[in-house]
Each structure stands twice: as C-alpha cells, then as structure tokens.
Symmetry: C2
Subunit: 466 residues, 2 copies
C-alpha cells in the first residue's frame, strides 16, 4: 500500500482520501512481545545478523524506554520477588495487575480473575488477534484469553494433579467448569470471542472438552472458529472467509528457524587434569566455535512474519473500527533456557521481520501504535572470547556453559549460560526494553512499570475509558 | 538557585533576568558515566534502594536510549570483538573513534592519537572538569586528558615493562617524552589545560616526572594547579580561588560507600557429598543472606555528589561561556569485578545523587544538557532466589558465585557472578543505556553507536563545528 500513500501529497489527494474512508478512521495496536528478550538477547542478534556496527529494525524505532517487572511472592503476596516468569509478567501487560509466578490473569492472593484488555476491546468493537510461535495455550498468549490459577492447566486433561516433572503438579481443580470455573486454557480459547488465534499447541485441543464427548477443537469449530493447520490453508481461508480463525501449526511449540552446527547446545569448558589440581595450572579446552544453520526440523513451519501478515488482513476484515494484535516470538526464551544461542538469534530475527511487516502496515495506516517489549530477562550473556585477564597466562573460563559463534563478519561471539546447573537456565530480573513507533511519542514514557503497558493500550484505543 | 527561578514567573521578572544576564548565555554539558552500569546493575540498585516498585532519579529522566559498544580486535583491527574494556569504550565517547581494548585515545592500528572533545571545547573557551571515584589516571577519566598506547601507563614509573600481573606488562615506551611522546597519564594531566581534576590516584603523582627531579605533583603545581587532598580543602579552595584545581583524595581508587555484612563477597554454593555423586541427589547450602552496611574504610571520603557540587561552582568561575564536566562513578564496575553487589549498589546510588545535583543545577541553568551513560556491561545478574525449577525437588544452584541480599522491603534479591573462575569477573557485551534531560529531546536518538556520543556533545556546545 505504500506507493498509494506516497502519491497522496497534495490537498486534492487528501480530500479524496477523506471522502473515500469511513468517517471514523480505524485505530490499531500491534503489540509484539519477545519472550525473554532483554538487551543481552537483542545485542546477540544484532551482532550476529547485522554485525557489531549494524542495526536491527528494532533499533530504527524512535521511542525506547525501560520497563520494571514486578512479581509478587506466592507464599506471601504482600511481598515481592525479583525474578518473574512469563505468566505473571504477561498478566501485568494484559491486565494491568501484578501477580505471582505461574498465574494466568488471576490474583496472587485469593485467585480472583483479572480482566484482560481484550475483553474491553472486543466490547468496544475492535477485532482482537493473538499470534505466537509457542502453543497458543502457553503463558504469554493465554493471559490475553483465559483466567486460570496455574499456567500448566493447558487442556482438560491437565486440570487435576497433572504431573509436570519431579514432584511438580499442575492443579487447577477450582477452575474446572464442574466447580464453577472456566475450564482449562484450551477450552477457554474455544469458548472465546477472540477473532484470530494462530500458533502451535494442537495437542491441547485434542482431549475431550470437560464433561463432553467432543474434543476441544470440535468445540471451537462448533462455536464458529474456522480451523487451519498449514500456512497455505491459512492464506486460503483469509482469501475466502471472514470467519474467526484458529490456526494450529504444530503439536506444541513451533520449531525454531536456526540451530548451531550439528544442533549442539552450549557446553562446559573442559579443564585439563592439572587445572583440576590447581586453578592456576594446566589449561582448558573450550567448546569449538560453531555457526548458525537452518534447523532441519523447521520444515514448512509458517514464519512469524507470514502469520502476522495474514492476521492483519483478517482482523481488518473483522472490524472497521480497528484491531488489537498481540504477536509473541516465544522461543527467544525457550532457546535461552536450552542454552541455544542460534535458536534465540533466529527467533529474534523472526520478531524483527514481523516488526517490519507491522511498520509497513503502519506506513499505510498511520493510526497504528506499534509497541515492542519483552516479558522478563533471560540467562544468556555475551562474555569475552579472550578473557580480560588472559595476560595473566592462566586458564580463565566460565564455570557455566559456553557457546562460541563465528559471526558472518568473521569474529567470534562467546555466549555464557551460567544461572544454574539444571537442564534449563533461569530467567533473570533485569528491567526490560520497550520500543514504540512515532504514535507512541507522547504516550510511552522513558521508564514505566510493566503493568502500565495495559494502560497505554487502553489510552490509545479507548481514550474515553481513561 | 531554585527559589529565585521559581519567583521569575511574570514578564517583569523575565525582562529583569534578560538584562541582568550576559548576552551570550552559558551552555553546559554534564556527562555522567556509570562504569559497567548496564540495565542489570541499574535494576539491582533500584530494587535495593527504592524497592521493586520504586524509581531512581535516573528513571525520572525523560529521554532513554540504547548504545551499541564497538571494540576493535587488537590482533587484527579490521575486525571487531564483542566485549569492551573501559579504555576503548570511553575513548569512543571522548573522541568519537573506535579502538581496541586497553587504549587511551589512541588508534588500534598505528597508535595514532585521537583528539578528545575536551581539546576543542577548551579552544572554544569552555571550562572543562573531570571528576571520578577512580584514580584520575584510570581509563575513563584518562581518555579525556591523555593519549597513550596502554591504560596501565599511569605514571612515569609504569612506562616500560611495568609488571601488572602474571606475564602481563604495561609498555608504552613509544610514549616516553624522551621518545617524542607525551609521557605517562599523570604527567599528561599535570601538563594539561583541564580546569579541574578530582578523584583518587595520588600515588601516580608521587614519582618524579620523566627526566626530572621534581614529582609529577610538583610539576602540576608548577604549571598552575592548586592541589587539595580533602573535601574541606576543596571547599575552601573553591571559596577563595579561581585557580585550576587538582584534588586527589586517596592513593588509588576511592573507597566505596557500602559493603555486605562483614565485608563478604559473593561465594560458591556448597553442595552436599551426595550431590557430588549425582546432580539430582543430596542438597546444597547457599551463602547466607546478608544486608548492605557502611564500608568501614569509607571514612571521610568525599561523596561524588559533593565533588560534583564543588566542580560545578569552580567551572562556572572559570568561564562565562559554560563548561563540560565529565563525572564517573567508577566502582560500579570495580565492585562487580570483585563480586560485591553492595559496593555496586552504593556506587550507583552515588551516581544517582550526583544526577540530582546536576538536575538541580539544570533547573537554574536551563541550557545544560545532562547525559548519563555507561561504558560497557558487567557480570552481575539478578537470578531467582527460588529457582523456576524448584518444583522438581532437586538441588538447583548456580555454578558461579552467589550473594543473596535482604532488601529493605524485606525480600531476598539473589545476585549471580559467573562469567569466569578467576579472581575478577569479566565485562559483558550487552548494549548499554543512555539517558538525557529535556535538552536532549531532539539530540539523543533511541539507538546509537557509542562513538556518536562525542558528536552529541559537540553538536550541543559547538554547533558551528558540525
């Protein structure tokens, strides 16, 4: 649409535009969430994809601020803890309320439901879409569509004493429909009025709906969702239908675009025998440098940018008033948990391509606020490939896990993962970035609490409610 | 001066002010550098000093952006590396040029001198001051006053094969005055036209100047510097003199304000014997939680904010045109190297208090641009006190060093240091924040290269040169 816009440079064109468009211009918010996308993860992607002197599309956005993440202690919700998970941090964005880890738009104290912004927006006539590379039932998308005590209650089979790992159980008995609740996350999506839901997680729609002999997917279809399971089917549906759409493109999290050579993760440096005797002696063998390559499992996975293009087209058809679209690049986080920098970088690149789609749309539809943010910090750090202290002539190496990437500009970027000794890294408590296009100029402050993002969305789309 | 300003609310007052002030209003730049102050270190300080829902003075600044740090490889300066030190990163700020680690305003390839912004500013009639909590000869202050091949060439005794540690030697033979160079950093300061230099590092002024029988300090005094070594002497000098000032308040780095209970640093978790047998077995003893307390070595050390107040008063006397003042809170970095979060937090608090002094001054002198930034990232990360994975019922703990702080709001903030196994942590390669007051509104972009900061200072104070 850009060429048309560029020709509208004189008054005649302006008047023509005024008469051709409806009297109330559509207003849109595109909220892009990079899960775990703190400044370290962004710098890794910038360095690898564009070089140390390059810039991401993110870096071209004119507004940048910092967001403080607040998490309540589930043992004592009058107190805070300093590291969030995606459930409580995305709840802050979607509902404007702080809560404890694991909660899906419910309160830390008495399990009250918090109303996500999507409810008010639907009521006001906006179309609402949710797009993610995770399961659509995963924490970040879920908080915009459901209220449940615990993030792992993703389908009807996971509501009561569902074992997650070790001694850990998901338990949302009070949320069973039989107990007066709203049911599992997938059922709440099936019952929702959300206009478009795209992502992974088809396995959560295969169990029978609670107390029913039809599956959650069949329930969603019965309630009016057109179901698609491939990008071509999605594109066809968007050509031919104005229906609500449910697109599920993988059983759980969608495969990521990139992996390191041969699929290796970050690994522990191997000190020599002598170095085990004394830390100043011997030497150390670091994991060999690798490059990023295509992930063979990626196959025909729809790119996030392609899902976004489709989503925007369909949401425009669903309401003349405008839309709210939340898009999550989920596996920046999941690949950092798994100590896989190429996975992280590829998924941040996906987010950046998606941002370009959003920017192109906003160029043609100027009343579009684009917000990009993260939910919480992640583990990966860029550390020196040659230690600051290698002049001492002794082996200096990380106690954690290391991956060294040969970047396209021919240098070695060393990434450290060292928040724990477990099979998955921890999140971190760093404040996270927020970015906006020019529509955010007098709206997005340089520093805010994460729960204030909810208010930004409402102030832009529902100014009368403020 | 605020009360006076507040009374000037009507036209009469405005005209009065106009006639009482010189026709050319003074313009000032106050550049505050938090060494190693990335978003993690900022969040640690915010959480501890003001609580998770609180905010620093930093957070009240209306402009916030990100700065990409670029470092050249000293082995092959056509290539980059991804983690800086303070020498090359501060050189980028002071001279607008990228270089390799360890260099003080000299080039990575042929050791050419880069001219710091202070030279042009002095030539144009501005007063220039440098204030730091490090030695005034340390990398960050040095790049604004000197050109030398290697940061450790801080005094005449450290110019040729000066052992720093292990197999590591400082060597700046080509910079000897006898070889046509400018001499060591302290000598270059003694010979400089900088109006005011305050900080630590008196030991670097005690050796005899190169080829001379007087000390570097005596040389500085002979060249017109009034020397002071206490806050009271500084304040008295500022009452009574318009001289250039050299204030050295400690032999090397100035003591920091805070330490953890009993002075302990972060320490390794201690796994039980069974956990050594298998990572899923046994348990782990974490270092006990501590609080921050006054550092008994701090004594009568001048606070950074007090040095800043004095500096501003003296610089105003030194030029009616205005001033450039660089202020560094150096030990955010040094205490992170040493795995001492309380030290870091106290020094970030010092920076924040200094910012308040700058903001008060700018309220009375509106043509004052305040910039706050860092030079590079640092090691400390906030990780969960209770692991995201503690539901698995196995010991999950950092492979690095941990300190857990009981914060004034009664929660536990866990800080992880795990970039290496050496006695000092590494820097990290994360992009760093930049903040500005309202004078930076159309000047400071949301994203920039670190070397662009040089251009911002020149654009504000020397617009005709741009």
């Amino acid at each position: 649409m850009r060429p048309i816009l560029l020709r509208l440079t004189n008054l005649t064109s302006f008047l023509l535009l005024t008469f051709l468009t409806p009297t109330v211009l559509a207003q849109n918010v595109i909220l892009i969430i990079g899960d775990g996308m703190d400044d370290h993860q962004i710098t890794m992607a910038r360095n690898y994809v564009h070089g140390a002197k390059g810039q991401l599309a993110l870096d071209t956005l004119p507004i940048r601020g910092a967001v403080q993440v607040v998490t309540l202690d589930h043992e004592d919700p009058t107190k805070v803890i300093y590291v969030a998970d995606s459930a409580n941090s995305a709840t802050a964005i979607a509902t404007g309320q702080v809560t404890s880890r694991g909660r899906i738009s419910t309160s830390a104290d008495t399990d009250r439901d918090f109303q996500p912004v999507t409810v008010d927006l639907k009521r006001a006539g906006y179309a609402v879409g949710i797009v993610t590379t995770a399961s659509v039932t995963d924490a970040t998308p879920a908080v915009f569509m459901a209220n449940v005590a615990q993030r792992f209650c993703e389908n009807p089979d996971m509501m009561v004493q569902a074992k997650i790992g070790g001694n850990w159980y998901a338990d949302c008995e009070q949320d069973l429909i039989a107990n007066g609740g709203k049911g599992s996350i997938s059922e709440q999506i099936a019952n929702s009025s959300i206009d478009l839901v795209l992502g992974g997680g088809s396995k959560h729609f295969l169990p029978n709906a609670e107390g029913s002999d039809i599956t959650v997917l069949q329930k969603a279809q019965a309630s009016g969702y057109l179901f698609v399971d491939s990008l071509s089917a999605l594109e066809q549906a968007i050509e031919n239908s104005e229906n609500r759409l449910l697109g599920l493109f993988s059983p759980s999290t969608m495969p990521v675009r990139w992996q390191a050579t041969g699929g290796v993760a970050a690994d522990e440096p191997e000190p020599s025998l002598l170095n085990h005797v004394h830390e100043y002696l011997g030497d150390v063998t670091l994991p060999a440098p690798v490059q990023c390559e295509a992930n063979p499992s990626y196959g025909n996975t729809p790119p996030l940018a392609a899902m976004t293009e489709s989503a925007i087209r369909q949401l425009q058809k669903r309401s003349g008033k405008g839309f709210f679209l939340m898009i999550e690049s989920a596996s920046i986080d999941k690949q950092s948990h798994a100590r896989r920098p190429c996975g992280q970088i590829g998924e941040l690149q996906q987010l950046d391509e998606t941002l370009k789609v959003a920017l192109d749309f906003a160029a043609a539809q100027p009343d579009t606020l684009i917000l990009v943010t993260a939910d919480h910090g992640q583990a990966a750090q860029i550390i020196p490939n040659n230690s600051l202290f290698n002049g001492y002539g002794i082996p200096v190496y990380t106690p954690g896990r290391l991956q060294r990437l040969i970047t396209p500009e021919g240098a070695i970027m060393a990434m450290n993962y060292a928040t724990n000794d477990f099979q998955a890294e921890e999140h971190t408590g760093v404040n996270i970035p927020i970015f906006a296009n020019d529509q955010g100029r007098d709206l997005v402050p340089a520093f805010m609490m994460q729960s204030d993002i909810y208010g930004l969305i409402k102030r832009y789309l529902l100014p009368e409610s403020q």
